[in-house]
């Protein structure tokens, strides 16, 4: 019930907030504080203790009651202080494949003293607790399942604490507009990209010389006749195709058209698999999607660029 109340307060206060630019400092007016259920129960216990003290004229009962009540009041201050002036920055957020779990990170910094058991959570998520040492930073990691490819938005986060005694819940909200790129899940059953894309390309004869020759592989239908290892055939071997190490100029285009699949999402999965595979084979590749064309290349950055293009295919670009 209190959680709901808090949520509505938050929704009202943060009606149309755009993401904030980091770092966010939790200044005092950003921090809310209310008793927890345990806090209300504690209040009830105090009332019982007070009535007993009055009725039995127990001076030490009064001492106990007032000491506990004052302790509660001081605890409220401590809870609030545990959040106040905390500085927050967005942390690293690596892309993941659909079906995996994205890890959103928030970096917390305390300019003055230590903070204990500070938690960060999404709307209905499990909280991640961290201690923040004075003048050091701590990282809270929020695991969020990423079921679909695209941009997974973290949304508004709640930072809260109940330290030291759990009688009060102090909290604040912040939104860095954190988002994780979710790549389409590669579909391994798609096999290798069709090689005719390579052959069908007239411009680039990929072989600058024999020194780039790498290995022989079985012939696939559609392999260029120029790449067939005729000498090996003459020796009586099977039909083999020469594979070259430096295929930079041999432009393998991974094309939307070639990825035969029942629906666009499946196509993207096929393309993602091709990207992973060609990268693994060390081949240079380009990517062609409706409206997007990434020139051939190789390496981690290139692969990430291609996968990101696949992930964000059809989405409105980020402004």
């Amino acid at each position: 019930m209190f959680a709901n109340a808090r949520q509505s307060i938050a929704d009202w206060i943060f009606r149309a907030r755009t993401p904030e630019s980091p770092p966010v400092t939790l200044v005092q007016r950003r921090i809310f504080i209310l008793p927890t259920k345990q806090g209300y129960l504690f209040g009830l216990v105090l009332l019982v203790l007070l009535l007993a003290s009055i009725n039995y004229a127990l001076s030490l009962g009064f001492v106990l009651t007032f000491l506990l009540a004052a302790m509660g009041a001081v605890a409220m201050l401590h809870t609030w202080r545990n959040l106040a002036h905390l500085r927050l920055r967005p942390g690293r957020c690596d892309p993941v494949f659909a079906g995996d779990t994205a890890q959103f990170r928030v970096v917390l910094e305390s300019p003055s003293r230590e903070r204990y058991a500070v938690a960060i959570r999404r709307r209905e998520g499990e909280p991640a607790f961290v201690d923040v040492r004075a003048t050091e930073h701590a990282v809270a990691t929020l695991p969020v399942p990423a079921p679909r490819r695209g941009r997974l938005r973290c949304g508004r986060l709640e930072i809260f604490t109940r330290y030291p005694v759990g009688l009060f819940h102090a909290w604040s909200y912040f939104d860095f507009g954190l988002a994780a790129i979710v790549y389409p899940r590669p579909s391994p059953e798609a096999g290798l990209p069709p090689q005719q894309t390579l052959a069908g390309n007239d411009e680039g004869i990929p072989v600058p010389g024999d020194e780039d020759f790498a290995f022989l592989r079985p012939y696939h239908a559609g392999d260029s006749p120029r790449l067939i290892a005729w000498k090996a055939l003459a020796r009586g071997d099977d039909l083999l195709t020469k594979e070259f190490q430096a295929t930079a100029s041999a432009e393998l285009w991974l094309d939307w058209i070639d990825a035969r699949a029942p629906d666009p999402e499946a196509r993207l999965s096929v393309l993602a698999h091709w990207v992973m595979e060609t990268e693994r084979l060390g081949q240079s590749y380009g990517l062609r999607l409706p409206g997007v064309s990434i020139p051939p290349g190789r390496g981690e950055t290139h692969r990430a660029r291609c996968l990101e293009a696949l992930a964000l295919h059809g989405e409105v670009p980020e402004t």
Binding site: L49, L60, F62, A69, L77, E126
Partner: protein, 657 residues
Amino acid sequence: MSGAIPNAALDVRNVMWLLAAMAFVVAPHAFRLPEWVGAFFALVVGWRAWIAWRAARNPPRWLVLALTVGAVAATFFAWGRIMGRDAGTTLLVLMAAMKLLEMKTSREVVLAIHLGFVLVMTNFLFSQSIPLGIYMLACVWLFVATLVGYHRGVGRTPTVRERLVPAGMLLAQAVPLMLVFFILFPRVQGPLWALPQDARAGISGLSDTMTPGNISKLIQSEATAFRVQFEGDIPPYHTLYWRGPVLWAFDGRTWKVPDYNISGSLAYTRSERPVRYVVTVEPHGMHWLFSLDVPGTVPAFAGLRHDLQIRSVRPVDVRVRYEMTSWLDYRYGENLPAMFRKLALSFDERRNPRTVALGRQWAAESATPTEVLARALRLFNSQFTYTLEPPLLTSDDPYDEFLFEAKRGFCEHYAGSFALLMRAAGIPSRVVTGYQGGEVNPLSRELLVRQADAHAWVEVWLEGRGWVRIDPTSAVSPDRIDSGINAALGPIGVFPSLIAADRLGVLANMRFVWDALNSQWNQWVLGYNVDRQRQFLASLGLEIADWTKLALWLTGATLAVGGLVGLGLVLRDLPVRRDPAVVAWERFCAKLARTGLVRAPHEGPVDFLARIEAARPAVAAEARAIVERYVEARYGPGITRPESRDLLARVRRFRPA
């Protein structure tokens, strides 16, 4: 929504802390409640510790339920009810044990801790002494530390230090507010609802009857009956007769306070100056208050009866403090109304025939009542022995048995038989019970009267003289009256108290310090009631007319003190003091800016200096000194504190215009 960090609820060490705190708070009860309660609680704590240690399963629900029903039933069989102080506490202890046994979630853990706070309170129903208070404070600390343990520590169990230090800080910071509330929270007179009958159980004191044997039981008690602070010198020891209940009615064995109120005119003449003193009487559950001889004033909450007994309107259920004046030298009751005379002479003819016969014989043989008195005292003086362990008087004629056979007895034997002898001899008499003497604390100059000082004496009515106090015990054992009970009983083991054997030693001194401390504790902490509060606040210059004004003061003081505590906490959070060199530099730039020379945001101090030198050659030298010092402070090795002060001073003197 769980309040604690996940998995903190059933962490072994967290559970152990809670169990330890619970065991500590229940321990004092083990000596007050039936043995099985303590034993059961210890068993459950052990069981729960084992469950936590071995990560075993909690007992099944039906077992906990069965035990709960059993606990209620056992409580009822032990006390005959489930409410009231003893039964209620028993029930609470048993319920706490059940809670420990079944708790699984952090919510239940916190519930158990709250129950722990209530258990602290139940201890105060039994005792509010200084040691118990300190002990209970330690228990509260343990409970708060346990609570902290559930909300601290990420991914690991907090250490002992990490629990105790924050908990101690919380409690220490709570003390100022607690004091404000303790002093200013409006106190009310009397209970809000009727106290259970056993709320004051175990309080010893005089009763409204006297049977041979019941005061000697009281004599064994070292408990404090009341304390007296005299204004001026303490009157001689042998005059300190603290009057309590006055017993007129007699049935052959027992002397009683008459059922009906004795009222009448209080004609008495006094001489000399009265004695002024303040009595702080411990709760005894009865109506009477104690005073010396003839009271001059009576406390507002009490009335004075014709037989000089002061009765409080309410039973003395709480410690009461009152001011008294008394005349030790007086004449009173010279006219004895016929009704009183009849009452003071009545006795059952069929009981104690030999005593009655002796009294009548003395009356026949004596010319005056005084002669009868003298014969009686002579008899006691010559043949009787004073002892705390008199033989049991079992017959229907106990005073015959005492006077003619046992001849060994205690004050109530002497007072009872003496009064009966007088009545038989036709001299109106009554028994007065109360206390005699007391112990003076040399440190606080306070007289401490213990239950051990309980005494009974006789008052006889003599024509032309009124009521006169006769203490037959003094005829048997004059020491009892002159120097107190311990002297009367001698150094040998009748009263085997260490303190008694060591009246003047180190132990006695420590005891006096302790007594003085206790007295202050009683007056200022335990006895802080409506009157004391008003008095204390008046001494601070606050005239509190009614509780609304008190509430106003309470609110104000709470805000003030709470604000101070809060400010103390918040101020520590402010960013560290700024570098004085930066402060000086900003002021320097601001001064130049006012003259039109504004430093560009990207402009470094040296470049800015070049511009100053070009634009304001008059102050160039001084500006260079300031800039060089600033550059040294910020970009170089740094400057010392006096140097930074000098920099500030230079900037202050700097006049760019």
